[in-house]
Symmetry: C2
Subunit: 224 residues, 2 copies
DNA sequence: GCATGTGAATGGATTCACAGCT
DNA sequence: AGCTGTGAATCCATTCACATGC
């Protein structure tokens, strides 16, 4: 459909920011949080570039997506920029996360420190195995019945669903998440999900990463 | 240094294949394994393209990286192509994997089915917490002392190291892996590792993925 | 002077379109 | 006829280089 857009208008203009850019914005945000914690008040694109092995122009382009936030001759105000990124990435309110699949991976993710932290909150796990229902993860997240997914999502005001089931069940889980009104899904199953418009999937495929490393190793071995 | 290379010579020519391409090759391989299991003997680039929402020319280009493997007018022989990809990706021999960090994530990865499977084998976990040493994961993978990393890697002939420690310790672990002779590292810590030449890192950053979903949600909310 | 913000140039990846083989 | 393999064209991301503003 309509693809015409004025490329990069300074203000407004949502959803025209690429995945690659948002990934880097997350990285910058992490760095800014650190800089703030050590009391640094301004930072230049050159300094950020050095930290991340990136080109400073790229960083300026990335940061300019939302309008002008730096001061020429000076750099960026750490706190101001950080707050701005937090808001632009939608991290200024807590996102509630539900995990489908209470196997090893699901349980580990439920307890994973990086999640229950700064803007994300695991509200529960669901599983269709009666033996698992009612159990809790080490940190106390409860396993709820899969059948009650829609009401759980409604009552707990879940925003993000995590697929931590096997490849065969993954599409069913995604569809159920979508039917229940979720708009964002993080998939750990080693399969390509057929996604619906508006219901975004991000996939983390451990096997692809391992195979990529295997390929590198093979080249190292063959090369010498 | 030298960047000149004859772009894409049909045979030989290692390491000039992009990360994006190898990722897709892994996906194709998975699909070919499935097709073989259901007895399909040939497949066309168009059929693969439809499965993965990709362009058929891209698939042909990807598959042509290693030489010509299709038959014009017919397509690709499933078994032959699969075997070829297995060999080219270096999956024709078992890769031994060691996990550093026996926390929730490390333990879960040790037991994760997708790993101890088809070409990868978890040989153990290491941790520097004396309380954890000697414990075992559910599936029986033992936690070994961090101090003995070099000898463990030597004796178990480890190929790939996994970093499943916190962000602060991640660089230390990476460096220890590299010093012990590993050439491939999979990093789960939410930090950018300073990598050494030849010692490849692939990072899986859960938080970046969640933040990307958060950004999407914010746009959905703002837009409607 | 110094660092941002940004058009222009470059580089890489994807797609098109067709020649060539079966 | 059908499908691969691939140069040419296109698209998108990154980098360069400089005008702009503090």
């Amino acid at each position: 459909m309509s693809k015409e857009r004025p490329t990069n208008s300074p203000t407004g203009d949502r959803e025209t920011i690429s995945e690659l850019t948002t990934g880097r914005l997350s990285v910058y945000l992490r760095c800014l949080t650190f800089l703030e914690s050590v009391g640094q008040s301004t930072v230049s694109s050159a300094e950020l570039a050095e930290r991340f092995h990136l080109n400073s122009a790229q960083i300026r382009k990335d940061l300019a997506c939302f309008g002008e936030f730096g001061t020429r001759g000076v750099g960026y105000n750490v706190t101001r920029l950080r707050d701005h990124l937090v808001r632009e990435l939608g991290l200024d309110r807590t996102r509630r996360v539900l995990i489908a699949g209470a196997g090893n991976l699901g349980m580990a993710l439920a307890d994973y420190a990086g999640f229950n932290d700064h803007g994300f909150e695991i509200t529960g796990l669901v599983d269709n195995d009666p033996d698992k229902i009612g159990r809790r993860s080490r940190s106390g997240i409860e396993v709820l019945p899969w059948d009650e997914l829609p009401s759980i999502i409604r009552e707990h005001q879940v925003d993000i669903g995590i697929v931590a089931v096997n490849a065969e069940a993954a599409q069913t889980v995604y569809d159920a998440f979508a039917d229940a009104g979720l708009n964002a899904v993080l998939n750990f199953a080693p399969t390509q999900l057929r996604s619906r418009s508006g219901v975004k999937v991000k996939s983390v495929d451990l096997r692809i990463n391992l195979e990529s490393l295997s390929f590198h190793l093979k080249n190292v071995e063959d090369g010498g």
